[in-house]
Structures are given as C-alpha cells and as structure tokens.
C-alpha cells in the first residue's frame, strides 16, 4: 500500500485532541487532513484517493451521526471510524447500523486506531476498485444498441439463440450477430462472464 496515495480525514472539535490525533496518525507516514467541524469537512475539496474518516460522535451543530447520514444521502462513500469520549450503547448501535467501520472510545490504544485506519483504507481502496469496474461496465453497457440490450437481457436468462429469435421475432442468425457484439462490447470472454456482468449491472432477469 503506498501511503502517498491515501489520506486520513479527522473531524474533531477539541483542538488539543485534534492536533494530537493528527500528529499520531501523521507519525505513521499517513497523510492527514483535520477539520474542526462537520460543516468544514463538507465544504472542503478532498483529493479522490483511498481514504477514511476519523469522526468524533459529539460535535456541536452537525454531529458525527448527522454527518454519517448526510454523506450516505449524498452518495459519498467513505469508511468512518467513530471516536467518542464516552460511548453509550444506543449511539454505538446506531453508528454501526449505519455502516461505521469502527467505534473507538477515547483514550484509545494507538494500535486499535492504526489498525482501524488501515482496514478502512484497504476497504475503501477495494470499494473504489469495485466502483471503478462497475463504472466501466456501465459505460460498456451504455454503448450497446437498444436491440443488443434486449438480446443481452434474454440471453443471460439462459435462453437459446433460437428461443431469443422467436421471442424477438427475428432469425437465429441475427441473434447470433447481436450476441457477438454484446460479448465484445461488454468485454465478456465467456457466457459466465456475461451473466456476472448482467448481475452487477442489475439487469439480471429483467424482462422488457
């Protein structure tokens, strides 16, 4: 994992604690960017690299849990490590249900934080890769003609070319040509590849 390509965001309103966390994480060679409020974080322009957010639960105005909701609503996907001075169970449950990757109580063990950060960044990196692949697949799917999309949606259900031809009221040969284009444009090397792609695109079993 190359550190330079990652970043850890911190949102903490208590200045000494914010500075100390910044220094601790920075001392491991990770890039750190610290904010004193959720609003400040939301206004910032953040580099698009694998990252995670170390977030204090109890922030004035917009709290940590509020920010978590806000980010989810606007589709910002970033692993969140919650920290709190004194965590109660309902709060922890709420945060974890909403997808927090970790919940640490101050003062936390250094290793717990660093492990959590590494896990979160790796997760984010993987998620980003996942998202990039899906993006690529979507682009490919969008390059299909309407007829090709129809063919693809039927083929992945396991129908034979002949059945598809009957379904679409055309010849088996025409279907075969469309199918070849679909395989090429989606980048599927096998029928199994195509089914998986359809699954990812969420068009599996879709009938038009």
């Amino acid at each position: 994992m190359t550190m330079a390509e990652t970043i850890v965001f911190i949102i903490e309103d208590d200045p000494p604690f914010r500075r100390s966390t910044e220094m601790l994480i920075g001392s491991t060679g990770l890039s750190v960017q610290a904010f004193s409020s959720a609003e400040e974080f939301l206004r910032s322009r953040r580099p698009d690299v694998p990252s995670c957010l170390v977030l204090d639960v109890r922030l004035p105005h917009l709290s940590g849990l509020d920010l978590q909701r806000e980010l989810a609503k606007t589709g910002v996907q970033i692993p969140i490590i919650f920290i709190t001075g004194h965590g109660d169970i309902p709060m922890t449950v709420q945060a974890m249900k909403a997808g927090a990757s970790e919940f640490l109580t101050k003062p936390f063990r250094e290793q717990d934080l660093l492990d959590a950060i590494h896990r979160a960044i790796n997760f984010d990196r993987a998620a980003r890769l996942q998202r990039a692949k899906l993006e690529d697949l979507r682009r490919r799917y969008h390059s299909l003609t309407a007829r090709e999309r129809e063919v693809m949606s039927l083929v992945v259900t396991g129908m034979l070319n002949k059945q598809v031809a009957i379904e679409l009221g055309t010849t088996e040969k025409t279907i075969k040509v469309h199918r070849g284009h679909v395989m090429q444009k989606i980048g599927a090397r096998s029928f199994a590849d195509l089914v998986r792609a359809a699954e990812k695109l969420g068009i599996f079993g879709r009938t038009s």
Partner: protein, 556 residues
Amino acid sequence: MKVIALMERIVAARQRLTELPEPSNGPAGTESQVRQAVRLLSSVLGELETVAKESKREEEAVSENESRFEILAETATDGIFSIDDQSTIRYANPAAGLLFGYEPNEMLGNTLTSLMPERLRQIHLTSVRRYLSTGQRHVGWRAVELIGLHKSGREFPIEVSFGEAIHNGRHFFTGIVRDVTDRKRSEEALRTSEQRLQAIVDNTTAVIFIKDLELRYLLINREYERLFGIGREQVQGRTDFDFHPHDVAETLRANDRQVIEIGGPTQFEEVVPSKGSARHYVVVKFLLRDQANEPYAICGIATDITELKQAQEDLRSTEAELAHITRVMTMGEITSSIAHEINQPLGTIVNYGNACLRLLRTGSADLAEMASVLSEIVNNANRASTIIARIRALSKKALPEVAVLKVEDLVAEILPLIRNELTRRRIVLKTALPGDLPPVLGDRIQLQQVLLNLVMNSVEAMHQVPEDRRQLSVEAESHISEGKEFVLVTVTDSGIGLKAEDLQKLFQAFYTTKAEGMGMGLAICRSIVGAHGGRLWAEPNAELGATFQFMLPAQT
C-alpha cells in the same frame, strides 16, 4: 434619807429627855432642867423645820419629775408598765392599755403574766425569780422580742425594753412595750420573698452568679454549685481564674468587663468546660445597682444551650448530608459528560505520547517539536486533573465553608462538567457573566450545587423540545433590592415550562415532575440560598420554558 436622819435625831433627843434626872425640889435645879429640855426640843424643832423645808423642796422636785414622766408616759405611743418584784403591775400608761385592750387602771394590781400567753407565764416567773436571787438575766434587756396576749385572747408580737429600779431593797421593773405586728409582718414578707427568690434561683436550671466589680464571686446558685462541683462558701472572694482554665477565664473576664463598661445588660455565648466536657451557655450579664444607681455588682444568668447547639449541629450535618446526596445524584446525571471531559485530555495525552514514541523510534524526532508536544501533554494532564478536582470537591461530603466568591468563577467551573451534556442534547448555551460583579460570601460547593441543579433541571426540561429550539442561558448581574446590593443569577431555558400547580409545589421536598427524581433538588437549593441570606424563585417564561433566579447578598 434626811427623814431617817431626822428620826434618828428625834429618837436620840427623846432618849436624852428620858435620861434627864427627876426634877429636884429646888427651883434652881428645875429651872436648869427645863432650859435643857427646851434647848433639846428647840434643836429638834429646828431640825424638823430644816427637814420639812428640804422635804418640801424635794417633794416639789419629785412632783416636777413625776409630772414630766406623767406627760411622757401618757402621750407615749409605746406601752409603759411598771411592775414590782412580784410581777404585779403598778403602773400602765394609756398606750399599754390600748396595746393589750384594757383600761390602764384595769391592769393595775394584775400580774404581768396576764398579758402573756399561758405557755410563757411560768418561764417568766421562773426567770424573774432566778434574776432576783442570782442576778442572772435570761433575756437581754433591750428590744427583746416577746409575745403579748391581748385581752381578746389574740396573741401579737411585741418588743420590750426593760429597766430596773431598787427601792428600799425592793426591785421594780419598767417595761417599754411596742407592738411589732406590722414590722414582723413586713419582715416576714421580706423573708418569704427572699426565700421565694432563693428557691427560684436555686431551683432553676439556669446558672446564676453575682460578682463584685473586681469580678470576685459574691454568690452562686445551686446549679452553679452542681455544675462546677463547688460550694457557695468556697467561691466567695475568688475569681474565674480559680475555677476555670486560663483562656476560658480570660474570655469570661473580657465579657464581664464589657458589661461593666457598657453599663447595660448584654448577652454572650460562652463555652465553659464542666466535668470534662465543653458546655455552651447563653449568658445575660447585667449590673446590680444601689439606691444611688451606682453599680456595685455584676450578675449573670446563664442557660445551658449545649444540647440545642448539638441539635443545630446535627441538623446542619443532616442538611449537609442530604445536600451531598442530591449533589451526588445530580453528578450521576452528568457522568457521561464528565467522563467525556476527562477522556478528552487523557486521549490527547495518549495520542501525543504514542506519536512521540514513534518519532523517537524512527529517529525522526525534532527536539523543538518534542518540547512543544510535551508541554501540550502537561497542559492536558492539568486539564484532566482540574476536572477531577472539581468533581471531587462536588462529591465531597463536607460541612459548609464560607469564603469570598465570584459568581462568574462558580459558573465557569461548573460549565466544563456539563458542556458535553449540552452538546449531546443539542442545547445552545448563552452566558452573560460580567467580570465586574461584586463578590458574594458563601460556600463554593453548595452554590455550585445550586447552579448545577438549576442548569440540569433546564437541560431536562428541554428534552421533549425540538433540537433547534433548545436554548439555555446563564446570566449574572448586580441588583439593588431594598437598598442593598445583590448578585442576581438567572437561568433561563426554552423547555416545557412550568405549570401553575408546579409553581406552588416546586420547592417542596419530595415534589418532582421527573420519573426518576427524588424531589429534593430544588428544596435543597432554596434552603442553601436561604442560608446564604438570599432568595430563589421561579417563573414561567412568556413564550417558551422557565426562568429560575436567585440572588445573593453582595459582599462589599
């Protein structure tokens, strides 16, 4: 005497006449004999004349004396008797008659014992007899108190002075008698009153003493004797320094002197050890004055208030205990906030420490950076310990300690403990605490308890109010009431407010609107503020929430 001498001479002259020889027949002899007899008779007659003259003179003198005595005796208001050695009344003046209910002449010839109660008669007769035979008196002769018997049979107290005269070998006694019924009665009344006073003084639970102006004891009552194990004869002329420890005696002396100086009655609280334990007294000391209004002694009446003191002390400690319990309960409500407030600096310290270790291990430590980080660590450690000290102070069970305090400091010290609670509950806090407020006199912990209680009540009152409407304000200002300066503290919230029925009972013990409340918080707050000479009250706001205010006398 002269009469006797004359009689003797007459007897001698007669003797000589009888011894004259029978007249002889010769004229010469007869003539000389007659001449001799004539000479004798003439001398006797001369003597007789002299005696008669003298006796007349004496008689005149006696009658003058007698008439003078008569006037005195007849007009005297005291009864005058004269008796012979047989106790027979020879003379009684009119006053004597009045005294005993007789006509004066009626008494003459009676024995004196008729004027005495039966039981005393024999004693009188025996005593007179003994005196006559031995000269020994059984009573004094001046102002002797005896009992008289009135003709009516009524006995009455008399005072008699005796005189004695011996006439021709016979003893005569004169008595001057005075009715002392009134005097006896007033003496009796005085004695009764004195006995009554003595009985009161001796039977009261108060300790009473009288000292002269040199502070030497003149008198103590029985309670004093009992308490200090000392008799009233023993204290005479001695001072407190003889019975009490030196420092105690000095205090007592200072108080006594103050009373002598001021002149009016003064009340003191004195602590005097008795039988091994300190006793508290409330003492009223005042001066005793003679008829010229000159002070001659100082009197003290002391009431033992040791039990009262103890009860007050117990009450105070019970109140303190109750205050402590509610304080700890209130603290319990903000544990999470407090934990946060401590964990914050601790987390900071741990983070900095770990960062430094890492930098040192990797050799990338910068000395200047290390120094600044270490001072951050120290700051945060201090921050944590300050919070802990405040919590410890608030949780401490201690009797009140009075100090000069600034209200803004009291608030500032409380706020960190609840800051996180406010953040968590989305409460916006506004404070207005001018730095130029006059200080107040009071117990830091108790006043902080009041603040904490009011603030936490407000916090809870906003629980059901939408988050964006939760506002808390803590303000302090100088306030003049009835010409005196106070510091007025106002805690306002935008909570659910107060109902009219709540307002009535808000400050009563065990009244609570909270599910888990004990209902002691505000009752104790009011008693704390009251004990500080202040006032605590509440009122609903015009729109949202409630306002609690208390004012404390400014220390100027």
